[in-house]
Symmetry: D2
Subunit: 352 residues, 4 copies
């Protein structure tokens, strides 16, 4: 059934397959009267697009967005924004040889089992291409959050076992992997170049910080701020886990260590990651997501085809050896969508 | 706004505070004609209740459930099940000394900031007591899943740094911590007894396995099976993270390692944790959640009160030094709710 | 699937069968910090209950409500209100003779076809008893609307062909049929007594006026204020139609007559019924609902039973010959629910 | 907030303003594997478009639809269908003189009050143009309903006081007003020509019949089949009322008349309009909607402008003197959307 919408009050609906004619998004529930233009959104799209650097796929997506409704004379009208991108540089024929085979790590098998039919061209709806609409919508949310004094930044924390030691925020957009530590970034890039040369791929960890959120945002018992962020992040194709604040390391901590004590100036630590009881504390919200290695590799792998026959498969094509750098803007976009939606829910709750 | 419902087609709504008069749940969207009785549900409630063993709080909850609607002559009618538990053994006066202070790790501060008012008696709505309704509803989902051939089992994988080496399923319900390794269980119990004696607490990791799910269950692009499970788990108070299959360790794997290759008999590994592209593969679904140390400890901690004054606080009362054993049935319940809901969504999608 | 919730942000979920153990409602999304008590809600319940006068069923419902959560020290906390009524005076055995027969006008046949099972005791979930929870929740909404300066009043406009000529608001609660014209009320009561004596029933029209709603309330394109009110009203068992402002008579009007022209003081007429483009104009919102004759009559009627056999049926029991007087508070309650929900949606839209 | 989606499982989201760049719809929850093409949808669009005959506006909308996602090799894939129409023949400058004035009967005033900003070009989002997306989506639903054996037909029953006496279904699409009685149609056309010549407009009544729906479709207690149809119809701009079966005339009927008695062959009458207790009976579902006179007339009317000044206004432009003929396909489309959605909900409820 209908799982292609996200959000409650600030709500997006995406559509489009990677090698269909277009992808896009309808953004509903947008505050009216806010100045926004295509350049603001385009800037975020450009961070997501392939072909940005030597570590991403050389595939081109001419992601020039169009806002086709919901903005009048430069301002939002409160009616749905519709943002579309035509697909170009499509080479559906490049996928002819995988028409019948299930590529390991891809959703080929599960889509066929679910729908009984599969658009085999470049993963169809399961492609990372679907996230283009999310990033466009996330830019709209980001603009609204700017007015609330909220900012969102994500970055690569780890790639292929190489961890960032330092956190230097201004360096993030200065290196091709969007790592927060330039020394680590250099090693990550080297590793990615090596993997590209041998036809393999690797995973990593992306961290996200949300600043400026008032205490009191989040909707218990089920739509807690962390619960909604977790859903948002796990809805991104390559993400296999999420942790907030101390996260999994909390499993080895004592209560006397993990509890964030307070004095009159506020919290003395932030092991909770800025969320307690599903509601923002006013501290920085911090979480990390686990990103799996890109499924498309050019090493031969065992698989089955739709006829139940075994075969070896080599995924040709133009793919990212590590998706972390390009997932960063998607993580930010989804975080923006969640936080703006939760702010609107809080307004609904308390405004008489 | 209204964040107290969970699910789309099979949908629950919970209500109740820990020291109010009752807690309970309305379960909507229940398949009609299914035999269910209070004993079946009660059995799950008994696994969640406090006072089960030496490692849980001695506090008593007389969780004798009542089904007050939706069942007629022993069968579900398709109308909402209403299941209620009266609160007893309430000692609201025990909370008088925390009326003004914010207990570290608790949602006292965030609830006050959100709502501008707080029911200070035993955490109010933020109490673990809220999960009673979830477990009752989860039992209904579990019964429906039995008819689909689906089973769900969770267990303690790690407590306070002590990890299970073995996985012996029949041992899980035989030890007080619900660990899957009896040797580790003994050490865990010892550790908990020690922490109780010194007034501290610890965290752990709970793992869950869902078996018998057909390939094809899950609703991209946003309501993916893993996304919904992540939301469900993070909506549980003490949970701070989740990972599927290889999870965070995927960050250090190569694509050639992580990809689940296939032969004609099916998948050759399960690093994906039984979900690819947000849809079940037919393999066992496996995930782990990070459980933070219980916030209530009797060691003195620094905090602030509602007047902005600093103070030391000692959380008296009857609390679990580690909540893992009692979170196990809650994790199972939430997993049951998600999977049954997703099965119903698949039925809606494909049945002409 | 789950059709037992109503509303988006201010959301209610009802449960309960007429001859089960209890009926009730969970009210989610309630503004915190609002004073409310059981007496305020009970006053509305008393207007709905049977046995109020000679024109209603002598059946007793001891609708003493209990608020079991969501209120602390006399104020709402922002967590779900749970309001319950135990069923008493149940005589399920009175329904034994209709166990297999489908009563004309009742939902016996359709429930069996839908669910494959039927709680035959007094219409089960399809009973007017289900509206008790709606009225309780509506009282909560009414309290919130009082703070917004909004009031809602409904009344009988027509019964069995007898129409009100005058509109004298203070008379409404002074006569047994809740008519807005005391002269008409006397004739209506006479007619109802006559129908009761011959074992028949009749229908009528109930009108509702909502005052004090700011211009700007309503959510196009689909959740328009009139669209949501229409859904709300048609969800009441006996209602078969609704019209706003000029309503069906607009079919015979010219545009030059129907258009509400303006001068600098505002609208010069209100043929639109206070809603244009699905959004409130600031004028009084006015609509009428068509109420069908009570289905339960004691005249013999032809029907079929579950075995496909023809039979005559006489509906014994204690029923209202005309349900209009008791539907009035239900219409008001549903109107309150819609308007409060829409106000909250507007707050979510515009508050930065 | 987000009111631009309709449906639960089969769900549509529309966007677009009348004089923006495009209008369209995302259709989510579509059964996979169903053959559908643009011609099938285009045929419905052509019934809605302006300029079809002498009784509709001569304005041209080149409603050539494009399906840009969700269909692969002629079949639905289960992913969202995206259907778009570019706006052409736009003359936004034609609306310059109403930039500041509130046109009587139009949503100019209410949109400005709600959003604080207004796209004044041709009613913006409040334009009938918005229904283009509904008709496109309705065609998809109609195709799915064909497989279920369900058909939907609407037609003009009354225009400007002229009523159809006969019901001759094959005549409906043979006359310019889509009336079910050719004799009445001729008088209606004459009346419309007259009104066009004097610059006025008129209202009417459209009736809809849904056939082939199994007994058991509809979701009590709130999402009843009639409740959802009522919401759907009242969400159409010009509709001011709805009645099912006997409808408002039930107010003057006795229970012994209105009750649909049964014999072993089924119901002996259909005063209920095919829905009892919110669930389909298996009989033809029949309802009527009240359509207000077109708001745009060229007679001078009193109004106010945004500066609070009084003025006379004459609505120039190309408008339909009566919208009934063109509302017929919109009514059908919305009915199709509701019924398909409810069928899917029933599948979710009962399929194990």
């Amino acid at each position: 059934m209908s799982g292609n919408s996200f959000g409650n009050i600030f709500k997006i609906t995406t559509f489009g397959e990677s090698h269909g004619e277009a992808v896009g998004v309808v953004v509903d529930g947008v505050t009216p009267g806010v100045e926004i233009d295509e350049h603001y959104i385009q800037a975020q799209m450009d961070r997501r697009k392939p072909g940005q650097s030597s570590v991403t796929t050389p595939r081109k997506e001419y992601d020039i967005i169009q806002i086709l409704s919901g903005v009048f004379e430069g301002k939002t009208t409160g009616t749905p924004l519709f943002i579309m991108l035509h697909n170009k540089d499509m080479r559906p024929e490049a996928y002819d040889d995988i028409k019948y085979a299930f590529r390991p790590g891809h959703a080929d098998f599960t889509y066929l089992k679910k729908y009984g039919i599969r658009d085999h061209r470049g993963s169809g709806r399961a492609s990372g291409r679907e996230t283009a609409g999310r990033v466009a919508a996330g830019a709209v949310a980001r603009k609204l959050l700017e007015h609330r004094g909220v900012s969102v930044v994500a970055y690569t924390k780890e790639i292929g076992g190489i961890k960032c030691d330092a956190f230097i925020e201004r360096e993030i957009e200065q290196n091709a992997v969007r790592a927060c530590d330039p020394a680590a970034a250099r090693k990550m890039i080297e590793k990615i170049h090596h993997l590209a040369s041998v036809g393999d791929s690797c995973g990593g960890i992306v961290e996200c910080r949300i600043r400026g959120v008032n205490p009191g945002i989040g909707e218990p018992a089920f739509d807690k701020l962390d619960a909604e962020l977790a859903k948002a992040m796990l809805s991104i194709g390559a993400v296999k886990g999420i942790e907030f604040g101390a996260g999994f390391s909390a499993a080895e901590m004592l209560g006397s260590e993990h509890n964030d004590q307070m004095d009159s100036s506020g919290f003395l630590s932030n092991h909770s990651g800025g969320i307690i009881g599903g509601i923002s504390t006013g501290n920085e919200i911090i979480f990390r997501v686990a990103v799996k290695p890109t499924s498309s590799i050019s090493l031969p792998q065992k698989t089955m085809n739709v006829h139940g026959e075994e075969q070896l498969i080599v995924t040709e094509g133009r793919h990212d050896p590590c998706i972390c750098p390009r997932i960063v803007p998607v993580v930010e976009a989804m975080a923006c969508l969640v936080v703006e939606d939760q702010y609107k829910r809080q307004a609904a709750l308390i405004h008489a």
